[in-house]
Subunit: 308 residues, 2 copies
Amino acid sequence: MLSGGVGAARFLQGVTAVVPPADVTAIGNVGDDLEIYGLHVSPDLDTLLYTLSGWNDEQKGWGVRGDTARALERARELGAPAWFWLGDLDIGLHLARTERLRRGEPLSLVTVGLAAALGLELQLLPCTDDRLRTILATDVGELEFQTYYVARGHQDRVLGIRFDGAEEARPAPGVLEALSGAEAILIAPSNPLISIAPILAVQDIREALAARSAPCVAVSPIVGGAAIRGPAADMLISMGHEPSPVGVARLYGGLIDALVLDRADADLAPAVEELGVRAIVVDTIMRDPAARAGLAREALGAAGLLVS
Amino acid sequence: MLSGGVGAARFLQGVTAVVPPADVTAIGNVGDDLEIYGLHVSPDLDTLLYTLSGWNDEQKGWGVRGDTARALERARELGAPAWFWLGDLDIGLHLARTERLRRGEPLSLVTVGLAAALGLELQLLPCTDDRLRTILATDVGELEFQTYYVARGHQDRVLGIRFDGAEEARPAPGVLEALSGAEAILIAPSNPLISIAPILAVQDIREALAARSAPCVAVSPIVGGAAIRGPAADMLISMGHEPSPVGVARLYGGLIDALVLDRADADLAPAVEELGVRAIVVDTIMRDPAARAGLAREALGAAGLLVS
């Protein structure tokens, strides 16, 4: 599964509920990563780690449930620019990650280690061990991703997106093997422009997906013209795309065989199919574990798995 | 005042109780600094900051009173080598420092900012903004300072000491001005070999001290053949020095005019004076604020201040 953050984490919960977790590889976005206060933070990978290990703050979608912020509040009192929230337990994970990176371990090995320490059986990999950063061109100038998203509350109009470092980035070890060996490839209901596109910006990953032998099924993160979460719909519009499953299917042109879309968009199924993409119309809102598992079953079914 | 960690902090409490804190400049050791988990930690500067602001854990001597270790315990669970204890509030200070250093601010400016945020009136400066690290040659090989001190519990025999970076290190802004403009210069009761020597390893500081116009008074950290705290006595012996005020006076040869020593060592006063150093025999154990102020009064009096 190609994965962004919160939506991907919930979908992945569903997938690992219906197939053995050890059979699943999640390939995560690192375009949102940042170094802050000296710590290396990988927000999307962390959301996957926290959600799948049950540590997550389900209400916020990110961070650790019940976490305190003693360190951050102290840093703020001492004049630090504390716009990026970090809880104490969360900092513990960043300390562990940063120390291993500083010792020269690649991010993929560190991530596998953190997943193992959290008792996860699935394979969680960053798309690349190289530096890859999402930079947004907006009406107030170029912004690093977290400046746009967190510091400025994703209010700015996005006019362009680039992935700094993508040209030189190589897939992390295991990524191409997972794609070539997969029985099914899923693209999570994540923002196609800023969660999935950074992964596809690694050329060898895009090429492996284009040359896939397994079916690839995406789940639309857009329902009824809006994003379930985050700025995807506004961003699609300002970037000249249709904020609908049709727009999503076009963005994934040549890379997916089927798109799962919500019943609210059932009338758009023919337009999706005209693009050569099979449209699977189901309930896609993942409000509880049963709904997450149900959506996973539909997506995997569309990929030819779980069919009795 | 040239300052190490815990002993210096207690002595500095005394000094700022008897003269206006705004008239005091503490020049701190950075040879013990380390980068750990991505954070820049300055243990001696932190001990001064914490002690003078009243945050300190008086019993341990270092760290923040009542601090928790949620982040560090989590990091440890996730496989981090958590040999260096960091409390959550403590991490807050390290986050604030590290972020400012990462933005290109020199350590001296960051330290002044932290002291101001903590409401301190004295001027606290690192001896240098450049990288300077204490490296110990021991019977188990060369060790970085914190590896020797914390990770291995200062059990190894010290055969040599060097200060990596000292040759290129320049005094931090304000240090030479403080020394040349001082009415009195004090050397805190800190380990001469690993707390004060790194400061003196910055050549311009040593030269400024040698060429001083103000009297310089040191306080012996060795009482009755032992250190009040830490491995100073064993280290003096293994490095071929006498573990006594006489050995301390010899190490500061040419740099001090008087040495304050404890009544327990009164019999050594003549030997100190034979070195051309005036010996001031008083109670030097700083068990409470009154004792700290009393010792400060003696040292400042020996320097010709506070004399009515």
